[in-house]
């Protein structure tokens, strides 16, 4: 680094110097260290008394020049200048090196710093830091250590060349830093996603009649659902949608979910629960953030449901063959008004499902931009009313099949009210032997409450096949009697033995297969009663045999359970009561 001060370098020497400086400067990827190193190198090469690096920070009207490195008797690090202020401003704006050989003769020189610090500036050299045609700042050098302290044209050429290398080094370090920050953000986001998904319960907890689904639009979600069995046997459930997306929404989501879950344990009134959480969020939350939510309690023993809705989309209670009941918001979203009040809806539900959902579902769009919407949602879940178990899978499948794509977090919650329906996977939905052919496959528990939804689903299927009304009713009654027999006799006093039903319509006949998992029945003892003897009992078997063309009992393969196959030919469809010759 020994350079003769008196003789300026020729072009070859300059090129060699720049190459060595460039390599030297590029050695660090820490932006602060790089700035310091770059400045001290340039100040040293240029034999300057002092120097500073100003970088352009901020965009447009907010842009300013900030001193990020400084060397010399006066420290101006952190000094902020307007983007057009002084020699530095002019250099940056014109992307050209400026020399004020003698400041005393230059009207553009801003004397502010000198007045404040007492440092005597005699000569100034300011070179732009240009990367890929964009000026990112300037390096300013003050007072040459020799020649009366004044810079000349040779210094200008050298400074310009060194500044170009310096700019590249600063840019590389910044890029590296950005990459590191990005990578850290990615890791943090991934961690946040993990923590957040850990807050959500699994899609299904065995024994709990609740199913959930959460599909975040970004790594972290502003939606959540929750459900848990409380110590007193009630089931707590909730769904919520936090306004906005990203980290802030996710943090508010975590807070709201924790508050609700924590307070739910002792709560009996969902409206009060929402009011308490609302007050807490209003007192401690940030303005402009809010949460729409529904929370509720279901008592599986009494069937009582209590729920309250804070600005959320209406909850839907769907039952086969019954009008849809909708529970709309009774108050403002949480986090807006501390004194907001909510109302609790109380109803008794022994059948059907309650659906809670976020706008990610209703606002999903197809290619033509049409929304999935409330009407299509109601239609879809009504069509699923006869099925047992998790229907969210089918709902999502319907969304996809219709060409709809969620554009926001999509969260769904299904509370199954019927005790009769399976709440576990112990009953296979479909017989593997016949999978894929059945028009209808139902799995349910041997409870009388399961009969009505079973009939509704069966009716719908048979009407879809095109059978006349009375033929449908005949088959429905026959299947009802077959299932009622299992419910009354097969499992003893137990009301939760598994039952499975599959409906086929091929080869000119409707075939209904009823499977149970009860001890084998002695088929010889199944016979209709003598109708001339007016006695209750035994009528069911008579109905069954009178309404279909054949009732065939079989022990199922594998040795466990019984199978009953009811067949009715299309050609033999006659109204009930008439086939007395049978």
């Amino acid at each position: 680094m020994s350079q003769d001060v008196s003789t300026p370098p020729d072009a070859r020497q300059l090129a060699a110097l720049v190459a060595s400086v460039t390599q030297d400067l590029a050695s660090s990827l820490d932006p602060t260290a790089t700035l310091r190193h770059v400045l001290s190198s340039v100040v040293s090469y240029m034999h300057a008394e002092a120097g500073s690096i100003f970088l352009v920070e901020g965009e447009g009207a907010a842009a300013e020049l900030v001193c990020r490195a400084c060397q010399g008797p006066v420290d101006v690090k952190g000094l902020r200048l307007r983007p057009d202020a002084g020699i530095v401003g002019q250099t940056v704006q014109s992307s050209a090196t400026r020399v004020v050989r003698d400041v005393a003769e230059d009207p553009n020189f801003s004397a502010v710093v000198d007045a404040d610090t007492g440092f005597c500036t005699r000569s100034l050299l300011c070179a732009p830091l240009v990367v890929q045609g964009r000026c990112i700042g300037a390096v300013e050098l003050i007072n040459k250590r020799s020649r009366e302290g004044l810079f000349d044209a040779a210094d200008e050429a050298l400074a310009t060349a060194l500044a170009a290398s310096a700019a590249l080094a600063i840019h590389s370090a910044r890029m590296a830093q950005e990459l590191i920050v990005q990578e850290r953000m990615c890791r943090e986001l991934e961690l946040a996603r993990e923590i957040q998904s850990g807050l959500l319960p699994p899609a299904h907890t065995p024994g709990l009649p609740v199913y959930g689904c959460n599909r975040p639009a970004t790594e972290v979600s502003g939606d959540f659902f929750d459900c848990r069995l409380l110590p007193d046997g009630r089931v707590y459930f909730a769904i919520a949608d936090v306004a906005g997306k990203g980290m802030n929404a996710a943090l508010l989501m975590s807070r709201t979910s924790s508050l609700l879950r924590c307070l739910a344990r002792e709560a009996t009134d969902p409206a009060q629960l929402l009011a308490d959480v609302n007050r807490e969020l209003c007192e401690t939350g940030r303005l402009g953030f809010f949460v729409t939510a529904i929370c509720g309690f279901h008592d599986p023993v009494s069937g009582e449901v209590r729920l309250a809705n804070a600005g959320h989309l209406p909850a839907l209670w769907i039952q086969a063959g019954q009008p849809v009941r909708s529970f709309a918001a009774s108050g403002l979203p949480l986090g807006i008004e501390a004194s907001a009040g909510y109302e609790t809806e109380i109803f008794t539900a022994q059948a059907g499902d309650l659906y809670l959902y976020t706008d990610g579902l209703t606002e999903a769009r197809d290619a033509a931009g049409e929304e999935f919407g409330q009407a299509r949602l109601t239609e879809t879940v009504l069509a699923l009313a006869g099925f047992a178990g998790n229907k969210l899978v089918q709902l999502e499948a319907a969304l996809t099949a219709g060409g709809f794509t969620a554009r926001d977090d999509l969260t769904l919650l299904q509370v199954e009210f019927s005790k009769a329906f399976c709440d576990d996977e112990s009953v296979p939905d479909v017989d593997p032997e016949t999978a894929g052919q059945a028009l209808l496959a139902l799995a349910f528990r041997s409870n009388p409450a399961a009969l009505a939804p079973m009939r509704a689903a069966l009716r719908q299927t048979l009407e879809g096949v095109g059978l006349i009304h009375q033929a449908c009713e005949d088959i429905v009654l026959a299947v009802n009697e077959a299932c009622a027999n299992v419910i009354r006799h097969a499992y003893g006093p137990s009301m939760d033995g598994p039952l499975r039903l599959a409906v086929f319509a091929t080869g000119g006949e409707v075939r209904v297969v009823v499977d149970d998992w009860a001890p084998p029945v002695d088929f010889c003892h199944i016979r209709p009663r003598d109708l001339d003897d007016v006695q209750p009992g035994g009528i069911g078997t008579h109905f069954m045999q009178a309404l279909v063309d054949s009732c065939e009992y079989a022990h199922r393969t594998g040795g466990v359970g019984n199978r009953l196959i009811l067949r009715r030919r299309f050609a033999a469809l006659t109204p009930a009561g008439e086939p007395s010759e049978r």
Binding site: A452, E473, E481, A484, V534, P536, I539, G540
Partner: protein, 108 residues
């Protein structure tokens, strides 16, 4: 399923509404038998019944037999096509007294 009871022309009228199956026929049975055991002339109004299965029919048979033993009148009204089809299937259409409306025999 809902059950309501009213007094019409001297009869206790037990009106059923909805689908009568194994899930609710025990309620139907005890509601009707309670009136009969109370020595009330009883009619079961089935006009609101859209579906009835063998357990519902069995409750009606037991009610009919209990009424005969107790010496009170028992019958059905409002028998629609859906219910009639099942009564015929059980061959009870000729056994149960079926009235188009509540008869005036107790007031005349």
């Amino acid at each position: 399923m809902s059950i309501s009871v009213s007094d019409v022309l001297g009869y206790r009228v037990v009106a059923l509404k909805g689908e009568v199956d194994l899930a609710c026929s025990p309620d139907v049975r005890s509601a009707v038998l309670a009136e009969i055991r109370d020595r009330q002339h009883t009619l079961v109004d089935l006009s609101g019944v859209s579906y009835i299965d063998s357990s519902g029919i069995a409750s009606l048979i037991e009610s009919y037999q209990t009424a005969r033993k107790a010496g009170v009148k028992f019958g059905l009204t409002g028998v629609n096509d859906a219910v009639m089809a099942v009564l015929k299937l059980a061959r009870l259409d000729l056994i149960f007294p079926i009235h188009a409306s509540v008869p005036r025999d107790l007031v005349d």
